[in-house]
Symmetry: C2
Subunit: 266 residues, 2 copies
C-alpha cells in the first residue's frame, strides 16, 4: 500500500513537473503561429547541403512546408504531415524519418484567413493578388499559404543529388536542374512568404512548391498558366531557426550578399 502511495505521489509530481516545463518553454512558442526553419537560405546558396535534422524531427515541428534533402536531392513538399520528395527523375516519394534535411521551413498549418475563390493567369498575377491580401493582414508578418486548385499548365523543377565537394547552388541550378511541364493538374501549392527584413535569413517574397492531388507530380514552382483555386492563409508571428553545427557552416564565409543570386534561381 505504501509503495502504491509513493508511486502515485511520484507520478503526480512527474505529471505536474512535465506540465510546468511545457508551459514555460511555450511562452514564446505559440505552436499554431510559429514557423520553424532549418538552417539559413544563405548557407544553402553557398553549398551547405549537409543534413541538420532528420525528416522525423522536422515532422515534429510542423505538418506543412517546403525545403530540400541532403545533397539537394529533390524538392521537399510537406503537406498534411507527410514529407514528400519531388525527385529529379520526375517521380514523387514519401520520405522515411531517417532522411536528412539541410534546409526547410515548416509550421503546424492553422488557417487564419482564406480566399475561397481566386483566378489567376500566371505566377505573378497570383502573387500580386495575394500580396494585396497580405498587406491587409499585416505586411510585416510571415505567411504560410496553401493554394489548392486546378492548373491548366504548371512548370516545376527539381535538382539532381549533389556529391561532395558541394558547388554553390547557382552553379548546381545551371547544370543539374530538371524542368517538368505538366498540363491540367489538380493539386496544392505550399507557399511561404517572408518580409524584406528576413531576406538575409531566408528569402524575401514568395517561394512555392507544388504537389499534384494524385501525388505523382511536383516540384519547385517556376511558372503556371490559368488557375482557379482556393487559398488558405496561416499568419505567422513567431520565427524559430536552428543553425547547422557542421564545421563547414561555422567556418563558412557568409559576407557575400546573395540576394541577387537567390532571385536568379528561386
Amino acid at each position: 500500500m505504501l509503495n502504491k502511495k509513493i508511486i502515485l505521489l511520484t507520478l503526480i509530481i512527474l505529471t505536474l513537473f512535465s506540465i510546468s516545463v511545457v508551459s514555460a518553454d511555450n511562452v514564446m512558442v505559440m505552436k499554431d503561429d510559429s514557423i520553424h526553419q532549418v538552417s539559413i537560405m544563405q548557407a544553402f546558396m553557398h553549398g551547405e547541403y549537409e543534413g541538420v535534422i532528420s525528416v522525423g524531427d522536422l515532422k515534429l515541428n510542423g505538418d506543412t512546408g517546403l525545403g530540400t534533402f541532403e545533397g539537394v536531392d529533390g524538392e521537399m513538399i510537406v503537406l498534411d504531415g507527410v514529407v514528400y520528395k519531388a525527385k529529379a527523375d520526375g517521380s514523387i516519394q514519401v520520405m522515411p524519418n531517417n532522411e536528412r534535411v539541410p534546409f526547410a521551413v515548416v509550421t503546424n498549418f492553422d488557417e487564419d484567413a482564406s480566399i475561397p475563390k481566386i483566378s489567376a493567369n500566371n505566377f505573378s498575377d497570383l502573387t500580386s493578388q495575394l500580396d494585396k491580401e497580405l498587406d491587409k493582414l499585416g505586411k510585416n508578418n510571415m505567411y504560410v499559404v496553401k493554394i489548392k486548385g486546378d492548373f491548366s499548365n504548371i512548370t516545376v523543377r527539381s535538382i539532381e543529388k549533389q556529391d561532395k565537394p558541394y558547388k554553390e547552388f547557382n552553379e548546381v541550378a545551371k547544370t543539374d536542374q530538371k524542368v517538368f511541364n505538366y498540363t491540367n493538374q489538380s493539386g496544392t501549392i505550399v507557399a511561404v512568404h517572408f518580409p524584406n527584413y528576413m531576406g538575409d535569413v531566408n528569402m524575401a517574397g514568395w517561394h512555392m512548391h507544388f504537389l499534384s492531388d494524385d501525388k505523382t507530380k511536383g516540384g519547385h514552382v517556376l511558372e503556371f498558366n490559368k488557375t482557379n483555386a482556393s487559398v488558405g492563409i496561416d499568419i505567422i508571428s513567431e520565427f524559430n531557426m536552428l543553425l547547422s553545427s557542421s564545421e563547414s557552416f561555422t567556418k563558412m564565409d557568409l559576407s557575400e550578399d546573395m540576394t541577387n543570386k537567390i532571385s536568379q534561381v528561386e
Copy 2:
C-alpha cells in the same frame, strides 16, 4: 482498488504524454543554446515602443540578456534571472513582472567557452579581441557574452521615457539620451553578438549593457577605458523571435534600410 488502478493508469498516461509533448516541442528548442528575441530592432528604430510581452514572461525565456521597456523607458539588463532597469535619472530598479517589453533578447546563459583573463584599453580593443575568439568558435553563430571586470572609466547612456505619438529612435536619441560617466566600477557587461545575416532583424556585431556589482549604476555601454575582466561565452545555435501583434507594427513601413541609423546610435 479499481479506482486507485484507474488513477494510477491515468497518471502514467498523463506523465508519458507530458514527457512526449516536451520532447516534441523541444526538438528545435535546445534550451541552453537558444536565444529569444522580442520584436525586431528595425521596428524599434522606427518608433515601435509598445510592449509585446511582460517582464514575467520574458524571464521564463531566459536569465541573461538586454533590451528596453515600454516607451523606451530606460535600458534593460537581465542578469542571473533578475530584470533591471537603468533609468534616465541614473538609478537602477529591479523590475516587476507586469512591466511591458517592446524589444529584448534573452537566453538561459550556459557557458560554452571562457576567457579567464582579458585586458583591454577600450570598447574597440575589447571587441577586436573577442571577435578573434568568436572566429575560432564559429563566426556564423550568435553569442551571448558576460564580461565581468573592473572598469577604470565607463560611459553609459539611458533614455527618457517617450510619450505617444512615438518618434523614430534616432530623433529620441538626439533629445532624450542621458549620458553617465563613472570611474572605478566593478560590474558585468551583458553583451550580444549577431552575425551580419541577422543585421535586418537585430543588429550585426556587438551590443552591450552594463550593471555595477553593487546594482546602483548601469546602462547601454558607449565606451570604457582600461578593463581587466573575465569573459563567459554562450554559443547560440537557435534563434526564436516573437513579432508584435500591434496594429502599428503590422502596418509599419519597414522598407527603409535602417543599418546606418542603427550604427549611429548603438
